[in-house]
């Protein structure tokens, strides 16, 4: 085609201006090949894939390919890879999962996304919680227990705190004394007199005779340890007064504290919950 022709011999279009002739050299072969390959590609693509927009949808294409189908296939492929590991998660006990480095790593990494989707909105991406609103999962203070099985139980069934409101039940002066004791206890400055007062007021029923909380003295009530430096609702005297006066989750009590953890048993698979429990356990305070 594109032979090096002597210009005198090349046929022309008959147009000539000032001795300059318009030649009819053929188009280079590589260009023609590319051109034909391009339009053939377009036609094949048009036929195979969804391409022509119609009024409400587009042509389907001979392959029946769709983006969502490809996505679902990829997800299925990924699920197939994970399946044997998930089976192992289902079979192993909590302790076994925590002791097996490979499985612990699998659970921890897999739970990252689940944690981000379901837990991080309240508890933060690192499980650090939000002071006064949502508990920190990375420390070793647990209201309901920080062992693997209890964490599974908490995620599955949820939790709802319950502390009665004491405004009206106890005189204001006494509530004031109790608040002073609690603030001092957290700093390690509790007086024996204060503790007696604390017991007489009935607080020990939930928080224990030593004020060290529910989970620790195995009442399992969710009552907080008042002697450590960790606060569920804030440790200033004003915050403590509010908690004592209006309680937690009290119906028809204004200013009451809200402490509700939803149940995830129906939303998440048992394997996901187990893997979440591994992650939470590994955040830093698992028992």
């Amino acid at each position: 085609m594109a032979k090096p022709n002597k210009p005198e011999q090349v046929p022309d279009t008959g147009h000539e201006w000032d001795g300059i002739r318009e030649l009819t050299n053929p188009i280079p072969r590589w260009w023609m090949i590319s051109f034909h390959a391009s339009w053939i590609f377009c036609v094949v693509y048009l036929l195979l894939y969804p391409s022509i927009p119609l009024l409400h949808e587009s042509t389907k294409g001979l392959l029946g390919w769709t983006q969502i189908k490809e996505f679902k296939e990829a997800v299925a492929e990924n699920d197939a890879v994970k399946a044997p590991f998930l089976k192992k998660v289902a079979q192993m006990s909590g302790q076994e999962l925590l002791d097996d480095a490979g499985m612990r790593n699998f659970a921890d990494s897999s739970a990252k996304a689940i944690f981000g989707d379901n837990c991080a909105a309240c508890h933060g991406s690192g499980g650090q919680g939000a002071p006064g609103l949502f508990p920190n999962l990375a420390d070793d203070a647990w209201l309901y227990g920080g062992d693997f099985d209890t964490i599974v139980e908490t995620i599955t069934d949820g939790r709802e705190g319950d502390m009665p409101a004491h405004k009206g039940e106890l005189p204001d002066a006494e509530i004031n004394l109790l608040a002073d004791f609690v603030v001092a206890a957290a700093e390690g400055k509790a007086t024996p007199k204060g503790l007696i007062h604390f017991n007489e007021a009935g607080c020990a029923g939930c928080h224990g005779e030593d004020a060290k909380g529910g989970a620790i003295n195995e009442l399992g009530s969710g009552a907080a340890n008042l002697t450590d430096g960790i606060w569920r609702f804030g440790g200033s005297k004003d915050e403590v007064l509010r908690t004592i006066r209006y309680g937690v989750n009290q119906e028809d009590v204004p200013n009451t504290r809200i402490a509700i953890m939803p149940a995830f048993g129906e939303k998440l698979t048992p394997e996901s919950i187990k893997m979440l429990a591994v992650k939470v356990h590994e955040l830093g305070g698992g028992k």
Binding site: M1, A2, K3, P4, K6, P7, E8, D18, G19, I20, P28, R29, W30, A101, G102, R104, N105, D108, G124, S125, G126, G127, Q128, N136, A138, D139, D140, A141, N225, D228, G229, I230, E282, L283, G284, G285
Partner: protein, 470 residues
């Protein structure tokens, strides 16, 4: 009025004709002769046999050269190179590039002429073509002839052989990435993964089209090296050069006026043997891959007409002007290329001899930066990623130095098992008693020590973060 003012532009056409551009409109059927450079070219080609043989070598029970992409390991005989050592690849690439530059500066396109896969595969393909279809004259005749039984038979045979070479080329390439015997079995039983088929298809297509049809067009229009070579050669580079002084005016060896002519008898054999179809007598040009085949051709003619050899010979521009070539070590280009070359070699040798058996990386948790524990301790979380590159399990202890009153929580640092060839991240907690640390951020070191031979001690810089004043 001059010619151009009168609209006479035929001289423009004359000039345009001089710039003959080879765009592949005509297949170049080069003549094959024997000679010094032809022999050299065969030696260069023979090196490529290694490419076909290497995958079958075994070392320690596995393929000697294996780029194991799923496992992210590169096996090179006794060496295993991990992704963490990939920085050496940059040096290898620099090394290859600089070698190419240096050789080009000294002796032109040696790579193109003797070693390049494009040249070598094209050479094999045209060798087969000659064996099947005959000499260039016969081939041209066959190409022009109408289709008949003989033409179909010859062409079919040729293309079958070409395709077979292409297939073996493709399988061999794929064999560097997976076990070669398994790969052959899978290809033959049509059970290979899609990636393997894609690689094979690409290589069959590439080999068949590039070596069979495009040939010198690849060197002219596709290869970037051909486009930049002009900045790599200088007046000292030796290249196949036509001795204009001696050769011109060219013309018939005998007959009227032959006594006053130069040594070039204008036999066009130098053009006839050129695999890229250039006329070396027009000087150094883009299409010349400096393979020296025109030198062989010209020498054979000079022998026949009883004139001294070397009308075309390897010479630099300076030599042709009668100057002396400066010694290699006095050329700035050579010196700077060599300096980079040896730096890269040094880096690679250092890298290969210092591949660490364990790769350690410790990440401080970013959120939360620290945790207040119920007993008043401040706890920091670290993720330890330790890759054991050896072939056996290793046991380590882990301690921290530079932090008084800070301890590793539990017994997690006492005995760490690193499985052979694995990297399983794990968490570790450091805790500081209340009030021990004065600063918000305290730098310290983790010490990672093996408990049994081989004795390995690694340190890793990290920080401990605590609330101010606690």
């Amino acid at each position: 009025m001059t010619d151009s003012e009168k609209g006479m532009v035929s001289d423009l056409y004359e000039e345009a004709h001089h710039y003959h551009v080879n765009v592949g409109g005509e297949t170049i059927h080069a003549k094959r002769l024997t000679g010094r450079f032809r022999t050299l070219k065969w030696y260069g080609s023979a090196l490529w046999l290694l490419y076909f043989i290497m995958p079958y070598f075994r070392w320690d029970g596995q393929q000697a050269i294996l780029f194991d992409i799923p496992e992210r390991q590169f096996h090179l005989f006794a060496l295993t190179i991990w992704p963490q050592d990939i920085w050496m690849l940059a040096l290898v690439l620099i090394l290859l590039a600089i070698t190419l530059f240096a050789v080009t500066a000294v002796a032109g396109r040696v790579w193109c002429g003797y070693f390049c896969f494009q040249t070598v595969w094209t050479d094999w393909f045209t060798w087969l073509e000659e064996k099947i279809e005959g000499s260039p004259v016969q081939r041209r005749k066959l190409d022009a002839a109408p289709w008949n039984g003989r033409k179909i038979r010859l062409k079919l045979f040729k293309h079958t052989l070409w395709l077979m070479i292409s297939i073996i080329t493709g399988v061999t390439f794929a064999a560097y990435f997976t076990d070669v015997f398994d790969l052959w079995y899978r290809y033959v039983s049509l059970d290979a993964p899609i990636e393997a088929w894609v690689v094979l298809a690409a290589f069959i297509f590439g080999t068949y089209v590039f070596a069979g049809f495009m040939r010198e067009q690849v060197c002219f229009w596709l290869c970037p090296y051909a486009r930049i070579q002009s900045v790599m050669v200088d007046k000292d580079s030796i290249l196949p050069t036509y001795d204009v002084q001696r050769g011109e005016p060219r013309g018939k060896v005998s007959g009227k006026g032959s006594e006053s002519r130069g040594d070039c008898i204008d036999c066009h054999l130098c053009v006839g043997v050129c695999p890229t179809g250039v006329d070396i007598r027009e000087g150094m040009q883009e299409g010349c891959i400096t393979c020296g085949l025109c030198i062989d051709a010209c020498d054979s003619i000079m022998d026949r007409v009883k004139r001294p050899r070397g009308l075309i010979h390897y010479a630099s521009e300076k030599e042709m002007q009668g100057e002396q070539l400066p010694p290699l070590f006095k050329r700035p280009r050579v010196i700077s290329y060599l300096a980079i070359f040896f730096l890269a070699v040094g880096g690679i040798v250092y890298g290969l001899t210092h591949i660490p058996p364990v790769e350690l990386s410790i990440v401080h948790a970013r959120q939360p930066l620290y945790i207040q524990m119920s007993n008043g301790d401040v706890q920091n979380k670290y993720t330890i990623k330790a890759l054991n590159k050896t072939k056996g399990d290793l046991h380590f202890t882990m301690t921290s130095v530079g932090l008084d009153g800070v301890f590793i929580v539990g017994n997690k640092g006492d005995k760490i098992t690193l499985k052979a060839g694995k990297m399983v991240p794990f968490h570790l907690f450091l805790a500081a008693k209340r009030g021990v640390l004065k600063n918000k951020k305290t730098p310290f070191q983790f010490i990672f020590k093996s408990v049994e031979p081989p004795f390995i001690r690694l340190t890793y810089e990290s920080v401990f973060i605590s609330p101010r004043g606690k």
